[in-house]
């Protein structure tokens, strides 16, 4: 009988290089799933939130109900949200994405709407005077001016989504959350810590990336200050 190896895995240490090298593929797969779930839900959330916000801006009667419904959705705890959607989507990745989309709606709708409302009336009038139709007014004037506020909402929604994906572990689609869940049941410290740190790193990286994108697509906000 050979003696058990005396490495950090056997000693169950929090920080363990051997864990990183032996489980590289598992970690990589989890990160990819995490990124996919986050990206899909934020993108879908944006596609749903944008028309809702525009509708709430253009039609006064729509603002109240849209804001009320999205706020109520945000109040529902994430685990409960996944559970309530269970009969609709079953144990699938779609369930996690659907839950996260509903979450991001409050943040996105509120911020896009705030951005649209902050566009000065003179600017809208000037564009209308230049002969801009409602579509062109929206695309060429209102949306670009609403970008900084909308991007702030998008950043918060993305960072929140990265951290909420972990709860998807309850249905087996939680990206790095799966590793945390499994690590909890087997008392595997290195796995729990590594996956948790990776989650935070993804959130920070996503936030910085969006900040960079925001600076690139809104050069006038910097020119005005300089």
């Amino acid at each position: 009988m050979t003696a058990p190896p005396d490495d950090c895995l056997a000693r169950n240490e929090w920080i363990c290089g051997a864990y990183l090298s032996t489980r590289r593929q598992i970690l990589l797969d989890a990160v990819v799933q995490h990124l996919q779930l986050t990206f899909l839900s934020v993108l879908t959330g944006l596609l749903v939130a944008l028309p809702l916000a525009v509708l709430a801006r253009r039609r006064r009667w729509a603002a109240g109900p849209v804001l009320a419904v999205t706020t109520v959705l945000y109040t529902i705890p994430s685990l409960a949200m996944f559970s309530l959607l269970l009969p609709l989507y079953g144990l699938s990745a779609t369930l996690v994405v659907a839950g996260l989309v509903l979450y991001s709606l409050t943040l996105l709708v509120r911020n896009i709407l705030a951005g649209l409302r902050a566009v000065p009336e003179e600017i809208r009038q000037a564009a209308l005077g230049l002969g801009y139709g409602p579509v062109r007014l929206l695309l060429a004037v209102e949306l670009p001016l609403a970008l900084p506020t909308a991007m702030a909402g998008l950043r918060i929604a993305t960072v929140s989504a990265v951290s909420l994906v972990t709860v998807g572990a309850i249905v087996g689609f939680g990206g790095l959350g799966n590793l945390i869940y499994a690590g909890m049941n087997t008392y595997f410290k290195a796995q729990v810590l590594t996956a948790s740190v990776l989650c935070v790193l993804i959130a920070v990286a996503a936030d910085l990336l969006l900040l960079g994108v925001q600076r690139l697509i809104t050069p006038w906000t910097r020119a005005a200050r300089a």
Partner: protein, 223 residues
């Protein structure tokens, strides 16, 4: 509609209410956890926020802590705490994680509320000979009350949500009904648990709505 009916049947079945795993016990656990952690978080966050707001310092720090808090997954922190010495006390990880995540929104909202108080009003109070303490308690605090209360409300709703996730990491509360439902592959139980949690969260929102309405006029920001 079938699932909802089945969930309702599960919920109204008297056999599911008593006992340590029963709905009554889980509801009580959820309530106690939320209230205790809300009080603890307020005790930690509010004095700090009021002093910082009064002095006008540390604002960037308060906001940054709040933003970083969003990036850290609650579930990850719960499990990490569970594997540390805190985990030896049954509700330890839950309470520590809940307080840890409730402090930042409380801190930020109370700080911002304090800073939103009209500076000229503070100057006037000073000019009338009020001491710093008097300005804080008789001018700044009443005027910033609506925003401070809003922070408490955000923290409370977040606590209800976090207490649910705690069940994933072995904590008590209503989330236990959901996780048990998943383990039993019982969709009615999962949905029933979710309805209870969602109802609880909305109830907390409602309570704060009522508190805001009942607050004295000065505490409503003159609205």
């Amino acid at each position: 509609m079938n699932t909802l009916a089945a969930a309702w049947e599960w919920l109204t079945d008297p056999a599911h209410w008593p006992g340590d795993d029963g709905i009554r016990h889980r509801l009580l656990q959820h309530l106690v956890l939320t209230v205790v952690c809300l009080l603890l978080s307020c005790l930690i966050a509010l004095p700090v926020a009021l002093v910082l707001g009064h002095l006008g310092r540390g604002g960037a720090l308060a906001v940054n802590i709040s933003n970083v808090g969003r990036a850290v997954p609650t579930f990850a922190v719960l499990v990490l705490l569970l594997l540390t010495p805190v985990g030896r006390w049954s509700e330890g990880p839950t309470v520590v994680a809940l307080v840890l995540f409730a402090v930042p929104p409380l801190l930020t909202n109370a700080y911002v509320g304090m800073r939103e108080v009209d500076r000229s009003v503070v100057q006037a109070a000073r000019g009338m000979g009020m001491t710093g303490r008097q300005v804080l308690f008789h001018v700044e605090l009443p005027l910033s009350f609506p925003l401070v209360l809003n922070g408490v409300r955000i923290a409370a709703v977040q606590l209800v949500a976090t207490a649910t996730i705690a069940a994933l990491a072995g904590g008590g509360g209503l989330g236990r009904i959901i996780t048990a439902g998943f383990n039993l592959a019982s969709t009615p139980q999962v949905v029933a648990g979710a309805l209870l949690v969602a109802g609880f969260a909305l109830l907390v929102e409602g309570v704060f709505e009522a508190v805001e309405r009942l607050a004295p006029v000065w505490a409503r920001g003159g609205r």
